[in-house]
């Protein structure tokens, strides 16, 4: 990637908040480059520092250490009103005393754009978010989904270089959320603006993003396209947080990983040190159920859980380790049945903790 490609660059950002029980480290040496025009998602559990990172980019907080660059320009010390970056707040934060149109015009007015230009832009944005009819309403006369669109429109109207979205869909019900996910993708596509999106919903992150950054405890764990994060998680936390997976812990002996249940599995990625403790992972959809004896592992079926088009078959290895396989349509085994489990050698991965 060249320098010109970078919309936002965060260099070794650190942020601590004071608290009664000593300082809380919200961000711990985070470095990240977000590319121009991409849909970038910050994903992680509650309290991992996602909002803090967004607030640093928007300028609502200053980092204790590190720099923030916008298209190559150092903006670390600029106040929020001088950063060409807009935010869609989780609570929407619409101005209750202004109409929808006046809310959307706010940024343009503050920038001192001519009235005619502002009017034209507001009309265009209202059309873009399909809210033409609502222009004269007050925010409290709108539904949650409509308020959401106005918040988006207001942030898009000044055509920022980067749009920051802090869990903008979390207050919507499932159906509306799916609809808004598509809507957001469409808007990002049509405007070409760089989106930095925060969520703790891994499915949302995987379906919407060009790239995802997974965070934990103020640190970035892994950055990459959804497929890569799913297929090649760098550690146990990422593997566990993204999608469902199985963990098998064993000890390396003679180039293989020996599980407590008795089986030995080939060590992926070269021979590990003798006696090392290794965690292996394999996704449920990579497991195939065979007759007993015909597979790499032996297991007993505990329960079948159906969900829409497929089912999860929960099993136990002989030492009690739980393991899950995803089964598509077809014959389902009975609980209590013995099965052999097989998988392609490439499906197995070794993880750091």
């Amino acid at each position: 990637m060249t320098e010109d490609d970078a919309a936002v660059e965060i260099r070794s950002a650190r942020k601590e908040y004071p608290s009664a029980a000593g300082p809380v480290r919200a961000l711990d040496d985070v470095s990240l480059t977000i590319r121009k025009g991409e849909f970038f998602t910050l994903l992680g559990p509650s309290g991992c520092g996602k909002t803090t990172l967004l607030r640093l980019i928007a300028g609502f907080e200053t980092p204790d250490a590190g720099r923030i660059l916008l298209e190559g320009r150092d903006i670390t010390d600029d106040p929020p009103n001088r950063r060409p970056v807009n935010t869609v707040f989780q609570s929407y934060a619409l101005f209750p005393h202004l109409s929808v149109a006046r809310n959307i015009a706010f940024g343009l007015e503050m920038l001192g754009r001519p009235a005619a230009e502002t009017r034209a832009r507001v009309a265009q944005i209202l059309r873009l978010v399909r809210m033409e009819e609502m222009a004269d309403r007050r925010p409290d006369q709108l539904s949650g989904g409509q308020q959401q669109r106005v918040a988006l429109a207001r942030a898009l109207a000044p055509a920022p270089r980067v749009l920051l979205l802090d869990e903008p869909l979390s207050a919507l019900d499932l159906k509306l959320r799916k609809e808004m996910q598509r809507e957001l993708k469409r808007l990002q596509h049509e405007t070409g603006i760089t989106f930095v999106f925060v969520t703790h919903d891994q499915e949302e992150a995987l379906t919407m993003s060009d790239r995802v950054g997974v965070m934990r405890g103020g640190r970035l764990q892994q950055v990459g396209p959804p497929r890569e994060i799913y297929a090649r998680p760098v550690n146990r936390f990422v593997a566990d947080f993204i999608g469902e997976t199985n963990f098998l812990e064993g000890v390396a002996r003679g180039g293989a990983v020996h599980l407590p249940a008795g089986a030995a599995l080939p060590a992926p990625g070269g021979a590990p040190a003798e006696g090392a403790r290794i965690t292996l992972t394999v996704r449920p959809e990579h497991l195939r159920l065979n007759a007993p004896g015909a597979g790499r592992l032996e297991a007993t079926v505990a329960e079948i859980v159906y969900f829409g088009p497929a089912a999860h078959c929960h099993m136990k290895l002989d030492d009690g380790t739980p393991i899950v396989a995803r089964l598509e349509e077809g014959r389902m085994p009975e609980p209590g049945a013995r099965v052999g489990l097989d998988f392609a050698p490439g499906a197995l991965q070794a993880l750091e903790d």
């Binding site: 929020p80 009103n81 934060a93 101005f95 207001r154």
Partner: protein, 268 residues
């Protein structure tokens, strides 16, 4: 089976009698005052038929006119000063998290509610008379400043309440949308705060309008406000004219306070 009913003071013995007595003591004197303001005779105790003559008398009384004007001027100026001060104090104490010394600052702002009024009156009298001697100025300024001082907490409380119910994110959003701090204040904070400011100003106006103690101590000769004029009149000869003035004052106060409650009831 009888269900246990929650405790209610309304079922205590003697509750109804107590309530009736309270209402009687609170409102009977006021009702009498209002009724006798329409008295046709010269006495405040003997009914002489319905008449509006005391209202006419008060209206034409030059002293009443002058005192009324003075009261209104002082109340307008004092509530204006107090409202601006209280607005700044409320912004200073609420637009951030908790800070050290917060309770102390609240106590300082609300001092006039706690200090005995007579003590404040004496203190102001002594303080202002030394200034009078030093400067020779004897105008209404002293009364205006004194009233402004004790009106601040009354203006402060509704403004602070309004600010505390206001979402801080709105100002953050304004800054995010390129508003300078001043513009964010003017275009977002101030319009949302306006009902609180109006409520605070009305309360301060009413409080200033009926003050007696501090005014009585601070005023120079010939600076009677409506309440101190009434006090002076009653000391000499009580006529139903005082009832008429009181009734008008009561009506104005009730009207302003109703407006105050209407404004503060509207949610942020």
């Amino acid at each position: 089976m009888a269900r246990a009913r929650p405790f209610s003071a309304a079922r205590l013995p003697g509750f109804a009698a107590m309530a009736a007595a309270t209402f009687l003591i609170l409102y009977a004197p006021i009702a009498t005052l209002v009724i006798y303001s329409f008295n046709g005779s010269d006495s405040v105790a003997v009914w002489g038929g319905f008449s509006l003559k005391w209202y006419g008398a008060a209206w034409e009384n030059a002293q009443v006119q002058e005192a009324t004007m003075r009261s209104v001027v002082i109340a307008l100026a004092a509530s204006g000063i107090a409202t601006v001060t209280a607005t700044m104090a409320a912004l200073g104490t609420t637009r951030r998290g908790r800070f050290p010394g917060q309770t102390l600052i609240y106590a300082i702002i609300n001092q006039p509610l706690m200090a005995p009024e007579i003590v404040t009156a004496v203190a102001l009298l002594i303080f202002f008379s030394s200034i009078k001697v030093a400067t020779g100025y004897t105008g209404l300024g002293y009364l205006i400043l004194a009233h402004a001082a004790f009106c601040v907490p009354f203006a402060y409380l509704p403004i602070r309440a309004r600010l505390e119910s206001m979402d801080l994110t709105l100002e953050t959003a304004a800054a995010d949308l390129y508003a300078t701090p001043w513009l964010a204040f003017r275009r977002v904070t101030l319009p949302l705060l306006a009902p609180g400011i109006a409520a605070g100003a009305m309360l301060a106006f009413v409080i200033s309008l009926d003050d007696v103690i501090i005014t009585e101590f601070v005023k120079s000769a010939g600076q009677d406000t409506l309440p101190t004029y009434m006090l002076g009149q009653i000391r000499r000869a009580a006529t139903p004219e005082v009832n008429a003035i009181s009734t008008v004052l009561l009506a104005v106060t009730v009207a302003l306070l109703s407006l105050f409650f209407a404004v503060t009831r509207k949610r942020a």
